[in-house]
């Protein structure tokens, strides 16, 4: 039977309601408190380090994101590690939670299609994440101006904003993953555990798994040095299956203007190159564009999977 009208009627209503719910939930408050504390701590440590070691740098502000002082990691590594947690907290019970509370049938009793529910939940989550990240980003810049005593340059701002956008996409991947788990798995605890395992595997264990897998796929022949390169390429390709790796490469290229490549570089490619000269912002973005596109596509595809599964589910009152 053919139904009339746009399938997206009411998406924004659901999205704003969802965002409002997240904003007031204790879960969100706790996780944001954690993120804020670590971020402020990392930036404060970075500023102390910059004051001690860096005399002059055309991109001093970007160093706020990358410089670390032991034992704390840098701001960008904190973000890579903790933002998936925020996304999982927002999304792990998005669909199965409604089933658990038996509210799904009530929502669908409204004059909206099922599409609007899942789209609205995803967009609502993204709104909350965007607000949180924007706050964090402005907080960083404010702290930088306050403690470093100088305004960020245009290049700093452009790169910082590109980094902010890439971070939003990266968090979106994790939100889509959590949403997919919450759709596929009926029990919220199980879906939370599944999402957390994916997070742990990609952020902690993936860097240990890839060398093993690469060694098995492309073994090194000691007599042929090119096999070493082949193994490096295989290992890099495997590592890039993880969104954490992609995000790390994006952060490196965007926040360090002097870096030119994320892959292995031959000495012959560096002949005549002026090491340390900053790259134009657009060139940096162009180099890292495949990673950004990959993250964005992964987010869309994960959501599509969740959407297809959700649309085919049977819903009873």
């Amino acid at each position: 039977m053919r139904r009339e009208g746009s399938p997206f009627t009411g998406v924004m209503t659901v999205a704003f309601k969802e965002a409002a719910d997240h904003m007031t939930s204790a879960r969100m408050h706790l996780i944001m408190l954690l993120v804020l504390l670590t971020a402020v701590g990392a930036v404060y440590a970075a500023i102390g380090e910059i004051r001690q070691t860096t005399a002059e740098d055309p991109y001093l502000f970007l160093k706020l994101f990358t410089v670390a002082r032991a034992p704390l990691p840098s701001f960008s590594s904190f973000m890579a590690f903790l933002l998936p947690l925020l996304a999982i907290a927002l999304g792990f019970d998005a669909v199965n939670g409604e089933f658990g509370k038996r509210t799904m049938s009530r929502i669908l009793a409204q004059p909206i299609y099922r599409d609007a529910v899942l789209f609205g939940k995803f967009i609502g989550g993204m709104i909350v994440i965007a607000i949180a990240l924007l706050t964090l980003w402005l907080l960083m810049i404010g702290l930088g101006i306050l403690l470093l005593g100088l305004p960020p340059s245009g290049g700093d701002m452009a790169r910082g904003f590109a980094y902010f956008a890439a971070t939003l996409v990266y968090t979106g991947v994790w939100l889509a993953l959590a949403l997919a788990f919450s759709t596929v798995i009926r029990a919220p605890a199980t879906s939370a555990l599944a999402a957390l395992s994916a997070w742990l595997i990609f952020s902690v264990f993936w860097s240990m798994i890839t060398p093993l897998a690469a060694g098995a796929i492309a073994p090194v022949n000691p007599l042929d040095p090119m096999t070493v390169l082949g193994q490096v390429h295989v290992q890099q390709a495997l590592a890039r299956l993880s969104p954490v790796t992609l995000y790390g490469e994006i952060a490196q290229m965007l926040l360090d203007p002097a870096s030119r490549s994320v892959g292995p570089v031959f000495m012959s490619q560096l002949e005549g190159a002026l090491i340390g000269s900053p790259l134009p912002t657009l060139q940096s973005i162009l180099i890292i564009w495949p990673q950004i596109a990959g993250l964005f596509a992964a987010m869309v595809l994960l959501f599509t999977g969740a959407y297809v599964v959700f649309q085919r589910q049977e819903i009873r009152a």
């Binding site: 005549g272 869309v300 959407y307």
Partner: protein, 396 residues
């Protein structure tokens, strides 16, 4: 009355001259063999001379006292035609009388000036010195004539010099003033446009525009010529003049510049940077300029690119480039296909026999946007999949 007095003075002078041997004999026996006359005289090395009307001439005088006591003599010039002026000087002081110690000589100068309209001819003058025991005199003969004034001369020690376009040429010149008076000579030199000229006195360091030369004296002047640095090779004339009182001394000097080519390489719009895309050819118009003073022959263009890069020149060789001329060379740069983005240094060289120039050209390699389009394609595909899912499963 005065004539009689003069006559008596002359007599007494003769008497003194006559009796002086007897006096000497009386004072010392050792001087008896000395037949030399003793007395009081005025002498001059120039008793007869020529002078030009209207110009002052100076006649040196010696007043000799060869007697036993100091003598005071009042001096007067007789026979002076009307309008003539005279003064006697002892050093810078005007005097009318002089006093000479025994066995001593005083040097005096008689400055004499005939009026400008005085007639030519010979005039007899008599300088008289009246002292307490008599008078001595010095007859002088002045012939007034329009003397042709001698021209000053300027002689270079080495009249022709050779050097590069940046050499400081130094000519030593001797300026002679044969005139009767000290003159201030104004120095000037005519040189080709753009050359710098300065005069110095002798080996001094002060730059001068004129130099005083004493009557009959010489002065050494050094002329410095600095050619315009971009002048082409060849011979250049330098004419030096020294002018004083309407008379000019000239000297013609030769200056030969041996040129050498000097190349300069300029990038597009005078910049030494440009951007290119990895694996794609980009052309930069370079300019080769000959800033030297001689033509450059067979200029070869060359570059030392990084590995895998290609650099081509159009034309690869310039047959000749005259001084001041410029020629455009298109430099086609193809960065290696594997070149990573960023700045690279490219050495571009123009080589000619005797001259070469390096230019460090900074090439910013941009990544090809092909991968950017591929990324958009990936995102587009993902969105297409989502759209198809919505079409297939939407509106439930």
């Amino acid at each position: 009355m005065s004539n009689r007095k003069l006559f008596r003075g002359a007599l007494s002078a003769c008497a003194l001259l006559a009796c002086s041997p007897a006096l000497a004999q009386a004072t010392s026996d050792t001087m008896t063999t000395d037949a030399r006359p003793h007395g009081f005289w005025i002498t001059t090395p120039a008793p007869e001379f020529k002078a030009a009307p209207g110009k002052q001439i100076s006649i040196p005088l010696s007043v000799i006292n060869d007697t036993l006591s100091p003598r005071r003599a009042s001096l007067a010039l007789d026979g002076l035609p009307k309008g003539w002026t005279w003064t006697l000087k002892h050093g810078a002081m005007e005097v009318e009388a002089t006093m000479v110690n025994p066995d001593a000589t005083e040097a005096l100068t008689l400055d004499l000036k005939a009026p400008a309209d005085a007639k030519s001819g010979t005039y007899a003058l008599d300088l008289k010195a009246a002292y307490d025991q008599g008078t001595t005199d010095l007859p002088l003969s002045v012939t007034l004539a329009d003397l042709p004034a001698a021209n000053p001369t300027l002689k270079p020690e080495l009249p022709a010099l050779r050097g590069g376009a940046k050499t400081d040429f130094q000519y030593k010149l001797t300026l002679e003033n044969p005139g009767l008076e000290e003159q201030l000579f104004t120095l000037d030199a005519a040189v080709p446009a753009g050359f710098e000229v300065s005069f110095k006195k002798g080996y001094g360091s002060d730059e001068i525009t004129g130099v005083p030369v004493k009557a009959g004296g010489t002065e050494t002047v050094t002329l410095h010529v600095k050619p315009n640095g971009s002048v082409s090779a060849g011979d250049y004339p330098v004419k030096v003049t020294a002018t004083a009182g309407g008379k000019t001394a000239e000297a013609d000097l030769g200056l030969r510049i041996t040129g050498s080519p000097e190349l300069a390489l300029n990038g597009p719009q005078e910049r030494l940077s440009g951007s290119a895309v990895a694996g794609q050819e980009t052309s930069f118009p370079f300019t080769v300029v000959n800033r030297g003073s001689a033509p450059a022959q067979a200029i070869r263009m060359d570059a030392t690119p990084p590995h895998d890069w290609k650099v081509a020149f159009d034309p690869a060789q310039l047959p000749a480039l005259d001084p001041g001329q410029k020629e455009t060379v298109n430099v086609s740069v193809t960065p290696g296909a594997q070149a990573i983005a960023g700045d690279y240094m490219l050495n571009i060289r123009a080589d000619a026999p005797g001259a070469s120039q390096d230019a460090k050209f900074r090439v910013t390699v941009n990544t090809s946007t092909v991968w950017g389009m591929a990324g958009i394609g990936v995102i587009g595909t993902a969105l297409l999949v989502l759209a198809m899912a919505v079409l297939r499963y939407g509106r439930r």
